[in-house]
């Protein structure tokens, strides 16, 4: 495996994108930074701009209003980047699947922009912080 991928595995810079979520996943993501689940040990850092990010933590069900902006953010993230669909909503619409204001699950929205985007799913509503960490680790191991 190229040294680039090896380095990417050890230092993941994460950018959090909420496309219409109920905040549980957002709070669990911030919980990752707090002392109990501190993710800085794995080199995961929450950055504030998609330019610096390697992984997009997408939460929320992808409402019509938020869908275009999600595609915009994905285009501006430096590739190679992984899209993490956090929670049941981002994974497949969750309990809001099929509602009238929902523009389809997040992976469909991202695939419209880049068909071969790397998408990882972390199920759970909200996924436990431990599940999120193991999701990120497994996804990186699989690249």
């Amino acid at each position: 495996m190229s040294w680039k991928m090896k380095a990417l595995k050890k230092s993941v810079w994460v950018f959090h994108v909420n496309t219409g979520a109920c905040n549980n996943c957002d709070i669990e993501i911030v919980n990752l930074l707090t002392p109990k689940f501190d993710v800085e040990r794995f080199g995961i850092k929450l950055v504030g701009s998609p330019r610096h990010a390697d992984a997009l933590l997408v939460t929320g069900v992808g409402t019509k209003q938020a869908a275009k902006r999600l595609q915009e953010v994905y285009r501006q993230t430096a590739k190679p980047c992984v899209v993490f669909c956090m929670g049941a909503c981002a994974g497949g619409g969750g309990i809001f699947e099929g509602a009238y204001h929902v523009a389809g699950p997040v992976d469909k929205i991202v695939k419209e922009v880049d068909p071969n985007a790397i998408i990882a799913y972390v199920p759970g509503c909200p996924p436990k912080p431990e599940a999120m960490i193991s999701g990120v680790v497994k996804a990186l191991a699989a690249i």
Partner: protein
């Protein structure tokens, strides 16, 4: 030393400084994490960060000025590396030349200018806000920094060469100590650490000066930042704390101890202060620091004239 060892040493200086910088930046992150009861990153984390960034794709904004945008980080990095090579030459090869302190001050400004150049070239209105803050910051701390070095030059009897300045170890005198403290705060601002990280702070919070950079260019900025973490304390040690002895192992250990002392001071300031507002910082540097330094200069001249060392 044989010629071969000498050549090998000078080849190893540049990568050596960069690696030392990465380790120093790891120390800073680890201590900040421990303050918040967190575990903090592993030792090789900065190396991984830089390596990953090299592998990433470089995005240049549409409206950015392409050439300047690409060139700015490299210029900043070159400036810092040049400064560190010069400092190593002075300490290891004892070849200080007249006026080397002026060259050092000039080289220290280069990274900040590169930062301003790069972010204004990136063409995003958001980054321009960061640029204006960076410019104000640079203007505010350059004046006290130069005044501090004037004090040091007076203490060393008017010679501009770092070797003589190192001999006179100005920090043991009152004016020297004042100059050292002010210079330390200026270094804090130059490194862009709290409480003077108005421009850089936005990088963690998302907006900010190097927001538009990605991939290898962002790696260049990060390496420049970490190498500054080596060069500036090194320079402070040489100017104020009596430089590095190279002869015996003891001298090298003493030099390293002083270097670590400066880094710890920087970390301490970083972790105990909330961020300061930009106009406040300017007022602090121009008013308080300058007055203190003018007094220090007066003391130094009196001391020099009457030959009292500790004044």
């Amino acid at each position: 030393m044989s010629v071969l060892a000498n050549v090998l040493f000078w080849i190893a200086v540049v990568p050596g400084t960069i690696i030392l910088g990465l380790i120093a930046s790891w120390i800073v992150r680890k201590v900040s994490a421990l303050v918040q009861w967190r575990v903090g990153p592993p030792v090789l984390q900065p190396v991984y960060d830089v390596a990953k960034l090299m592998g990433k794709e470089i995005l240049v904004p549409e409206c950015a000025h392409r050439a300047v945008f690409m060139f700015a980080p490299l210029a900043g990095l070159a400036g810092v590396l040049l400064l560190s090579i010069m400092l190593w030459r002075i300490t290891v090869a004892q070849s200080a030349f007249m006026g080397d302190i002026v060259v050092a001050i000039y080289l220290m400004v280069l990274p900040s200018l590169a930062l301003i150049l790069g972010s204004s070239a990136s063409g995003s209105p958001h980054a321009t806000m960061g640029t204006s803050r960076e410019m104000k910051l640079v203007m505010s701390y350059e004046l006290p920094l130069v005044l501090a070095f004037i004090v040091v030059v007076i203490k060393a009897g008017g010679s501009l060469s770092l070797a003589d300045i190192a001999q006179s170890t100005p920090v043991w005198s009152i004016s020297g100590m004042v100059a050292f403290l002010v210079a330390l705060l200026c270094v804090q601002a130059k490194l862009g650490y709290v409480p003077f990280d108005m421009a850089e702070a936005e990088t963690e919070l998302g907006g900010g000066v190097i927001m538009e950079y990605s991939g290898a260019l962002l790696a260049a900025w990060k390496v420049m930042h970490t190498t500054m973490l080596v060069a500036l304390p090194l320079f402070m040690v040489m100017v104020f704390l009596g430089g590095f002895g190279v002869g015996s192992a003891g001298a090298v250990a003493a030099g390293a101890g002083k270097y670590v002392l400066v880094v710890v001071l920087v970390i301490l300031i970083k972790n105990t202060n909330p961020r300061v507002r930009i106009d406040q910082a300017m007022k602090f540097f121009w008013v308080y620091c300058s007055i203190a330094l003018i007094l220090a200069i007066a003391l130094a001249t009196i001391g020099g004239y009457y030959g009292i060392g500790w004044l």
